[in-house]
Symmetry: C2
Subunit: 153 residues, 2 copies
DNA sequence: CTTAATTCAGACAAGTTTGTCTTAAATTAG
DNA sequence: CTAATTTAAGACAAACTTGTCTGAATTAAG
């Protein structure tokens, strides 16, 4: 997994907010959790992190909920990723070695740095708005497919 | 983390074997664990997996140990990765959605598939031999830098 | 003011990964 | 055969991630 589950969920919620028309008003976490098929309590915890980091604002009480703290075109996916997973993604070694740098390369350095910067570029260049627009236009999903069909015979 | 720690360790050990000249003889796991700075017991467990999967062969007793089951140029990194982490890497969604496919794309599908295939290509095209040669030629490391300098003031 | 709705905070549980340890089995050397 | 060495197997523990739950604080509405 390139991102933690918490981070996945945080991104889905942020995109959900950006894709929902009402960018101005608050959306309740329970509504989002239901729409995205996530645990309400768990999602709450994750969104609290995003609120603390200043990416969302929240309000309590009836009609309360959360919304993006800034316009959706001024928040990119990397903001969310770093708020939840930290900068890990930016400087991690593919072999798990510590202190990754050009000065102390592992034998996969060259190739890995290239891939890694591709990933960070993707997150850096994708704003919530641009991705949300894609959702609105096409048939892209933010939720799991049919609930697991149970395993075994 | 794109790979589990177990997988990281397995790759390091496999590369260590490929880079050690004595491709024919057995190298003891304790020697490898010491050289790579890994837990002996944990590395043992990981290499048992690789042995079970037929990528290495082992023998007990004095002068026992493990060696690659096939020539180092006929094993690629993907073999190791799949043996330890399974095919997860090949078909996982960047948003953690289930059933990733062109038919059920998330809004990052196009870009992610491109990156993901870059990763799989890297592992598929890198043989243990090619990477081991790089180690022999240049100054690439397979071990962590100086043991963590302890944190805090 | 009272009540309901909602986030906030944090304890707690469950699950997974990582790491340690002990014992058994196999192999080699003498 | 005996003893030493080494992997195999698996129990167990520790750490981390994920998920659940309860209660407090805040806000809005009547
Ligand atoms: S060498 Fe490549 S893989 Fe190793 S630490 Fe540096 S970037 Fe990461
Ligand atoms: S759309 Fe992209 S990210 Fe989503 S499942 Fe398919 S590949 Fe993964």
């Amino acid at each position: 997994m390139v991102l933690s589950k918490s981070c996945d969920y945080g991104l889905r919620a942020a995109l959900f907010l950006a894709a929902s028309e009402r960018e101005e008003s608050f959306v309740s976490i329970s509504e989002m959790a239901k729409a995205l098929g996530l645990s309400f309590h768990f999602l709450t915890k994750i969104l609290q992190t995003l609120t603390r980091k200043g990416l969302m604002v929240s309000t309590k009480g009836p009609h309360g909920g959360v919304r993006l703290a800034r316009p959706a075109d001024s928040i990119n996916l990397m903001d969310i990723v770093i708020a939840i997973d930290g900068p890990r993604l930016l400087n991690e070694c593919v072999l798990g070695l510590n202190g990754c740098s050009d000065q102390h390369p592992c034998p996969l350095h060259r190739q890995w740095v290239s891939i890694r910067s591709g990933i960070t570029e993707l997150f850096n260049q994708s704003t919530l708005k641009s991705v949300a627009q894609r959702i609105a236009e096409g048939s892209y999903r933010l939720i799991d497919l049919i609930e697991e069909p149970e395993k075994k015979v």
